[in-house]
């Protein structure tokens, strides 16, 4: 009797849960899963913007073409360099700022609000803002360094400079993300280990290495993984600042696929590339998910 009542309750729970989930799930299927399947199918066809139809099945030809494509490796290399450089520097700056912010009491809210600002600024505005500041003749940056007797820099003009300029702008835009997440982690650390270490005469530095870092590990890993995936998505600042150039210096993967689809007009081939990118991001997401659930 009791078990029957319990299973009745359970069935009710399940039915109610499904009822609540169904509308959202239906929309999710319609606007995300269905388009993704459409992209998967398109990747096996000769589907171009000149002939946008699934009438020529080409099997794996699009994938073969992607592998043969000379510049895809360049683009992947640029993406990897961009993601590693920006996320690592953001992490270093973000951690220093988080540690500093965690140790002050005065003006804490003031600093915190300033830190939040770049995160909320439209990426297009970020790109335009820095283009204006870094303009070779009319920008304030070159004027400022000329006061220090440094020759003007052509920030977006040559390959190497342009790459590091985009990295720098991304750091300006995103380092607060790291700072704020890591600060939340620092603020929730227990006090006892530090007090015990102080009694034993440990220095601040060894406290940081032996207490802070190990305790912060989960937060650090989550913050890094999230930023890695978000950095792979980067498109806006490249579109605004460099259009992938000069040459292929800033041709990161999102921009590369965008160009293949809307300038190369070959949606089939672009779909093949995006399916490959999807697999990479999915793998990272599954890793992140397993890590996040293992923390609970």
């Amino acid at each position: 009797m009791n078990t029957r009542a319990a299973s009745g309750l359970e069935r009710g729970d399940r039915r109610f849960g499904l009822m609540l989930t169904a509308p959202g799930l239906a929309v999710l299927f319609l606007v995300i899963i269905f388009p993704l399947l459409f992209a998967l199918i398109t990747s096996f066809f000769d589907y171009t913007l000149i002939n946008p139809n699934h009438d020529t099945f080409v099997g794996l030809d699009n994938y073969q073409e992607v592998l043969d494509e000379e510049y895809i490796l360049t683009s992947l290399w640029v993406t990897l360099k961009f993601v590693l450089a920006s996320v690592m520097i953001e992490f270093a700056i973000g951690f220093s700022v988080a540690l500093a912010l965690n140790s002050v009491t005065r003006f804490k809210n003031f600093y915190y609000l300033i830190l939040l600002a770049p995160l909320l600024i439209n990426p297009v505005v970020v790109g335009l803002l820095w283009r204006m500041i870094l303009h070779t003749e009319l920008g304030i940056a070159n004027y400022a360094i000329s006061l220090m007797n440094i020759d003007p820099v052509n920030w977006l003009g040559n390959a190497n400079a342009a790459f590091w300029t985009v990295v720098m702008v991304d750091i300006w835009h995103q380092f607060s993300f790291m700072a704020i997440l890591l600060l939340a982690g620092l603020a929730s650390l227990p006090r006892e280990p530090y007090e015990a270490a102080r009694v034993d005469g440990a220095s601040s530095f060894s406290c940081f290495i032996h207490i802070t870092l190990p305790l912060m590990r989960p937060v650090i890993i989550v913050a890094l993984l999230l930023r890695f995936v978000f950095a792979i998505k980067t498109f806006d600042i490249v579109f605004i600042m460099t259009k992938g150039g000069p040459g292929t210096a800033t041709d990161i993967i999102s921009y590369f696929i965008y160009r293949a689809a809307f300038f190369g007009l070959d949606i089939g081939r672009a779909s093949a590339m995006s399916i490959a990118l999807l697999l990479i991001v999915l793998a990272l997401t599954i890793y992140l998910y397993r890590y996040m659930t293992s923390l609970r």
Binding site: L20, A100, A184, D236, S274, V281
Partner: protein, 271 residues
């Protein structure tokens, strides 16, 4: 003694350096927006009397007003549709574990999806369904971002003490639906509002979908701003004024959601 002072000052030095690195470019853009067009180009900088002429000019410009209104209605439309759907989903994830791990993973993956992957099929499908350059199309596109974001974020909202209050209501004879609609939703309303504002901002700032799927009648502010760059190439005073207007609403909303921002940024991983 000196060492103690240094130790206390060092964090402030670090924070001041990075705070000014953040503030200076923003204030510089504000300065350019408030000068007249000739002074905006002077290097070394010329400090004239600040005035609001650039702001008056862009608001008198029909295309700018169009972008502004498009962005506003698309962001509001997206949030109004996505928020209730996501709240119901997140609630049943949190309370009844509906769909289990696979469904949660699907929602998280949707959130991590690079937009360029989705924009290709959406473009082809919208072309067939004549949804290119329509507000409906733009709202559909932005729901692909907002719905998974909100569903994932709100799960954390529905876990915690609220369960106890709900159980009390259920013992008093409330049905599951009543407990959800009459008890949980009102109590969670401030959190839902903050989440809704985050979703509004996601849509307001979104660029790639708008670039490809919107057209002359439906261009949003980010697309409008990016086109100013080529059309008026040199008019940085007007461009700065327009950019300030694009980021201002976000800063006005900031105090309302500051508390929930960390949860939003870390996708609920860090509270």
């Amino acid at each position: 003694m000196h060492k103690g002072l240094l130790k206390r000052l060092l964090p402030h030095v670090v924070l001041l350096v990075f705070s000014s690195a953040i503030l200076f470019p923003i204030l510089w853009m504000l300065r350019v927006a408030l000068t007249n067009k000739m002074n905006a180009y002077q290097i070394p900088p010329v400090w004239g009397n600040p005035n609001f002429n650039n702001f008056i000019e862009i608001f008198a410009d029909n295309s700018f007003m169009g972008y502004f209104v498009n962005s506003l209605s698309i962001a509001i439309g997206t949030t109004l549709i996505a928020l209730p759907l996501a709240a119901a989903m997140a609630y049943s994830f949190a309370r009844y574990n509906t769909g289990g791990l696979p469904l949660r993973l699907a929602v998280l993956s949707s959130q991590m999806l690079p937009p360029v992957i989705l924009v290709l099929p959406l473009f082809s499908l919208f072309l067939k369904a004549s949804l290119l350059n329509t507000q409906t199309g733009m709202i559909i596109a932005h729901i692909t971002i907002s719905l998974p974001f909100l569903a994932w974020l709100l799960v954390a909202f529905f876990e915690g003490d609220i369960v106890i209050i709900e159980q009390a209501a259920r013992i008093d004879g409330a049905t599951r639906l009543q407990a959800f609609l009459r008890i949980t939703m009102p109590i969670m309303a401030p959190g839902l509002l903050a989440a809704g504002l985050l979703s509004f901002i996601l849509s307001w700032n979104e660029f790639l979908f708008a670039l490809i799927l919107s057209g002359p009648q439906t261009n949003t502010l980010p697309v409008g701003l990016s086109s100013y760059q080529s059309h008026r190439g040199v008019d940085i005073a007007l461009l700065s004024a327009a950019a300030i207007c694009a980021i201002l609403p976000v800063f006005i909303l900031l105090p309302l959601m500051k508390k929930h921002l960390i949860k939003g940024l870390s996708l609920g991983a860090i509270k």
